[in-house]
């Protein structure tokens, strides 16, 4: 009962039916109903248990390296005429924020007595983060990855294999992230009792979006405390994050959702531009629809077939966004900017040169949003630097303009 009350605290939290406004829900076949129901009935209770919280935070501290720094980016601030802070998720073990969620979910899977883990991955970051925690816990791990993505992201495929995971090529559809997600869910249908599906973002059927957002919310909890220590106030004027499915953004926004003075900025991938036909800018191009168990904004044809998105950044290459973000967009709570490949790459190089930090190309989209904002010198801006650029070196090299 206490849990339900807490859920109802605000309008930006999921309601008891799994909706954020008109987005969300659990549009799953009956075959998955028992699994989803088991999660829905248990996730809050397990997550709120003090011993679970203790184990989660211990691992975040000792294994992931949290809290990650909130770094005042001096030269970047000068360039844009505002006080810009970088939340350094790139310094997490495995190189991105994704591990916050996989640590949480594998602890939860153990509480539910699951025997093995399945996951989907696009670029491989979530796959690596899942393979990592499975190695840590000694659990069997199967990662579904589009056959095309396996070609494009070979180092991450090998990383997962070194960690002991089985990487299963998804050969259906277009052989990318959305197909890997379909395959993971199909596998889950076939092994409903013993497996837990660790989804990689705030997408999928309820309770996944809420569960993943809660695990990632450690990011904004830390931001508040670190801002207080560094500036004397907990609230920034802006929080900027890139949105693929939206997990790093959900984490960075979470504890600011109900503070309207904190403006939330989302950067989605415009690819070659929103009118180019090669884009992943879901709010610019999508309409309400249902994919992977969730009613949300979705890129699709007039006939309701899901469109294959494009972005230079594999982590933003998803045709939908999490239902929370669809709601933030719909209500105007968050402002969305579409950042092109070129703008993101330029921003990535800029950060490298100004601060000595090579960002993941996903995170570079968040930096790209700075150009569109009307900033004042006293504005405090926090940017979610969701990952490091190591995995993207080949893309930087191919792009070549540095």
């Amino acid at each position: 009962m206490a849990a339900v009350k807490e859920l109802k605290k605000t309008s930006y939290q999921v309601n008891e039916n799994g909706y954020y406004g008109k987005f969300g829900g659990a549009y799953i076949p009956e075959m998955l109903y028992p699994n989803i129901e088991e999660l829905r009935e248990n996730y809050l209770q397990i997550m709120q248990d003090p011993s679970f919280q203790a184990a989660f935070h211990q691992l975040l501290k000792d294994y992931v390296g949290r809290p990650t720094p909130l770094y005042f980016a001096n030269r970047l601030s000068e360039k844009f005429g505002a006080k810009i802070y970088l939340k350094r998720e790139d310094l997490c073990h495995t190189g991105a924020h994704k591990v916050n969620n996989t640590i949480g979910q594998i602890l939860l899977a153990r509480q539910l007595n699951k025997k093995f883990i399945i996951a989907e991955t696009g670029a491989g970051q979530h796959g690596v983060a899942t393979a990592t925690v499975c190695a840590l816990m000694g659990m069997e791990c199967k990662v579904f990855m589009g056959a095309l993505d396996m070609e494009r992201q070979k180092p991450n495929v090998e990383r997962m294999r070194i960690l002991g995971a089985e990487v299963i090529p998804a050969v259906s559809g277009n052989q990318t992230l959305k197909d890997a997600t379909n395959e993971a869910m199909r596998y889950w249908i076939n092994y409903p009792v013993d497996s837990h599906y660790i989804i990689g973002s705030v997408v999928g059927p309820h309770p996944y979006p809420d569960m993943v957002a809660r695990f990632q919310s450690v990011v904004s909890a830390e931001i508040r405390q670190q801002l207080l220590e560094q500036t004397g106030t907990e609230q920034p004027d802006y929080v900027i994050a890139c949105v693929g499915g939206g997990s790093n953004a959900a984490g960075a926004y979470y504890h600011f959702l109900d503070e309207p003075d904190v403006k939330l900025i989302a950067a989605e991938a415009a690819g070659h531009g929103i009118t180019s036909g090669e884009s992943a800018a879901t709010t610019a191009l999508g309409r309400i629809g249902i994919l992977h168990g969730s009613k949300t904004l979705l890129m699709q044809t007039d006939d309701g077939q899901v469109v294959e998105p494009y972005s230079i950044s594999a982590g933003l290459d998803y045709p939908g966004i999490g239902p929370l973000h669809a709601h933030l967009y719909d209500t105007g709570r968050a402002t969305f900017y579409s950042i092109t490949d070129d703008e993101a790459m330029d921003a990535g190089i800029l950060l490298s040169r100004l601060e000595g930090i090579i960002p993941a190309i996903e995170s570079a989209h968040a930096l790209g949003a700075l150009h569109y904002m009307d900033l004042k010198p006293e504005d405090v801006v926090v940017i979610s630097l969701s990952g490091r650029g190591d995995k993207d070196l080949e893309t930087y090299i191919k792009w070549g303009k540095y």
Binding site: N17, G25, A26, Y27, I28, P29, E30, M31, Y33, P34, S172, G173, K178, D179, N182, M185, R186, I189, N190, Y191, P192, V193, R287, I288, G289, I290, L291, H292, G293, L298, Q300, D302, D303, G304, Q305, V306
Partner: protein
């Protein structure tokens, strides 16, 4: 008038026949885009009791490779919901058995739920199977619209569905209940395992008010007759799609396959 008449086609079948009901699934627009109606006619002539026509979707979560592939091919060949309704415009001139549309929610949402239902009624569809429409959503948002257009919503149960939930589903069902044979996605299998039989027995003992048809993994005479000893009949999808895939003469091969399944 027409509403009640239409919605009774499924009930009529089950009134006339208590067992060995055979329902066949195939994907609209496959193997060739304009085969949709012919296949329905051949199936009726071959003595099939119900027809399910699949509406192709880019992301069919509950389907195995065979049905996935047929849907993808149909989409490549230009299949759309709009085209499906055009193809089916005169289907009731030649096909009398119940026709069910099966597919995923997103194309239906884009078509507009009420518009979709109206078109279904116009062409003579009797029921819908939408695997990713959960019961609670159906009851809250869709039931009234479906019923206004004389459409039954067919629910599924699986080996993991609790007894209480089966009762609830039975209460809200019309036509029949779709018993998914095992924890799985669609796909032809060559045998029925003992734990599946235990589940069929368990459901049979519940004495549901609705008839049951067993689907997923039914492929041939053996699996069909086993299913028929525990339920009012069975549904075949993937195995039939494989027949279509290889067929050079749809009418002849459909007749042959159905005869073989019936074991006559």
């Amino acid at each position: 008038m027409s509403v009640t008449k239409l919605s009774n086609r499924i009930d009529q079948i089950f009134q006339e026949k208590k067992n060995n009901i055979l329902s066949i699934y195939y994907t609209a627009g496959f193997p060739r885009r304009d085969d949709t109606v012919h296949i329905a006619e051949y199936l009726e002539n071959a003595g099939v009791d119900l027809i399910e026509i699949g509406m192709p979707f880019s992301d069919p979560l509950a389907d195995g490779p065979t049905i996935q592939h047929s849907g993808q091919k149909a989409l490549q060949q230009g299949m759309t919901l709009k085209l499906l309704f055009e193809q089916l415009a005169h289907v009731r001139q030649t096909v009398n058995i119940p026709v069910i549309l099966m597919g995923y929610m997103n194309p239906v949402l884009q078509f507009g739920v009420e518009n979709f239902c109206r078109h279904c009624q116009q062409v003579g569809i009797d029921a819908l199977i939408l695997p990713d429409l959960p019961m609670q959503e159906y009851l809250k948002e869709y039931k009234d619209i479906f019923e206004a257009y004389g459409l039954y919503n067919i629910f599924m149960i699986t080996p993991q569905t609790s007894e209480a939930r089966i009762r609830l589903i039975d209460e809200h069902s019309h036509g029949f209940i779709y018993m998914v044979s095992s924890a799985s996605i669609t796909g032809a299998k060559s045998e029925i395992r003992p734990e599946q039989v235990a589940y069929f027995e368990r459901v049979r003992k519940m004495q549901l008010k609705n008839p049951t048809l067993i689907g997923f993994g039914i492929s041939n005479h053996d699996t069909f007759s086993t299913a028929c000893t525990y339920a009012n009949g069975a549904l075949i999808g993937s195995a039939f799609i494989k027949v279509l895939e290889q067929s050079k003469d749809l009418e002849k091969d459909i007749q042959q396959y159905i005869t073989a399944v019936r074991g006559r």
